[in-house]
Amino acid sequence: MKTKLPLYFLAFALISLLLGITFGLCASLQYVFPEFLKEYIPFSKLRPFHVTSVISWIILSATGSIYFFLVYVERLKLYSDRLLKAHFWIFALTGLAIYISYLVGYTEGREYFAFGPVIMIPILLGWVLFGINYFKTLRKAVSGWPVYYWMWGTGIVFMIYHLTEAHVWVFEYFRENFIRDMSVQWKSYGSFTGSWNMLVYGISIYVMSKIKGDQKMAKSKTVFFFYFLGLTNLMFGWAHHTYFLPIQPWIRYVAYAVSMTEWIVLASIIYNWKRSLPKVKLENHPMATRFMMSADVWILLNLILAILFSIPAINFFTHGTHITVAHSMGTTIGINTTILFSALLFILGKLNPTFNTNQFSLRRGLQLFNITLFFFWCSLLTAGIKKSYWMYFSKKGLFSEMQDAMMTVYILIFVFGTGLVIALCMISFPILKEFLRKIKR
């Protein structure tokens, strides 16, 4: 009997998503009602809960999907089921440890990894186990790897490197030089995102090639060209985060030249895929395909935004505002989440061909998701533009007065955020229910 652990990863991923969006909604409410829950769980405590949960959603769903594809779809024998088991329990227990550490206030870390740095050790161990299992499984079993195997392997290796790099601040050598410290910190964050994108985009290419029934697209020279471009971006394209840190100009020149080509990569791949998609195949995985096409739209919107603010003259005005948040929400929710939902629906189609992926909750959920996310995204852009105007043009009044003047926009962010939470629940619940049913059997 095949291991059910990939499904455990996926069920935990969906639970993390539901927790993450709940924390996010509470945090956005504190923009509107600053006193709300302030004494019990202020924004400074809510944000780490939100960030950790949504990152866990991406990581766990990507990891679970990869394991599932290897074991259930490719029918490969894993190098070690024990390593898989150890990997799962390490991640599950570490996740629990992180939540407990947040509750008791053990937060010595930094943005995105607020927990004490010691908790990163088991997380790294989990990734190492994943890496060993992944490479050992594929090394002999598959020759002439399609691009997604390269992408997943790259994602795992660079994840280990950049998670480590994000914690070199524990050494005084890095911490004592503030500018170097900030550079390395934001370098690691940029590349950490690039690493999970390798996993997620690899999944998108995998699902697309399976739906289309075409292995050639995952082995073409073009797709490998884009993979290497993406890898270059992962390695050298981080510094657009730090255009305005007083670092040496050549670092910023490199970033300007390299940054954001990653979006062009995926847009091109999906565009070419959709154009040649035969109608008959759509019927096999209709919702998985719809989610993938939604990702296409979000790539286009975020591509425009990303290209614009990779230009330093524009970044100058957008940096430090909610335009950055719009970009991160657009990419993590609009692109990553739709691709991952597409993968989950594809997986459900494999697990249970009678599962109705075209059901009301999923269909309407996707529509509501796209509409509310669009307005949520626009509201964040508006908040960013207004703050930038206050910073560089009007220069009038205190920060708190500027915040008060933005109340309408913050209310809109909360309202559309609520709609988004409802949409994500409509999509997540039936999928989670089905996974839990499969796990119980």
Binding site: P34, R47, E111, K136, F178, I179, R180, P246, I251
Partner: protein, 163 residues
Amino acid sequence: MSYLEFGYFSTFKARLQLLKMPTDTKKYIVIIAILIALFLVYNYIIYTNEGYTAKVELSPMAMEGQLLWQKNNCWSCHQLYGLGGYLGPDLTNVYSHPDKGPVYINAFLNSGVKTMPQFHFNESEKEAIIEYLRIIDKTGYYPIFDASIEPSGWVNIKYKYED
């Protein structure tokens, strides 16, 4: 792999396996090896370069302040050089701001505000946080009102040592 990466490729068995690989795979491995070599050099320069234009080091007290900044998730709401959360203001130059400065920071640390909870810091903790913000202030400017924007889209930022 059961051997360390480089050690592994030096073995006869590994060379044999490399020969068996499809041509494209070999090509891809070479490209990745080149990129990784460049990446290592690049990282070495980033990690060791002393030539940053703002060479300001944190004092032991500022490091304490930095740890308090982290322990209390100050970055959740505040930014340094525009990096962080957006519920509170950027604090890069709060120390030298003509209308703000150490007394102003101390008052906020004492009482909190509408959105900022009261953290109940003791005197030495408050001093450490203020020292941390003082050192950060010395490293540069943000927002950089005196930056010059070129027609090419490039922005020349103003460094503190230029004053």
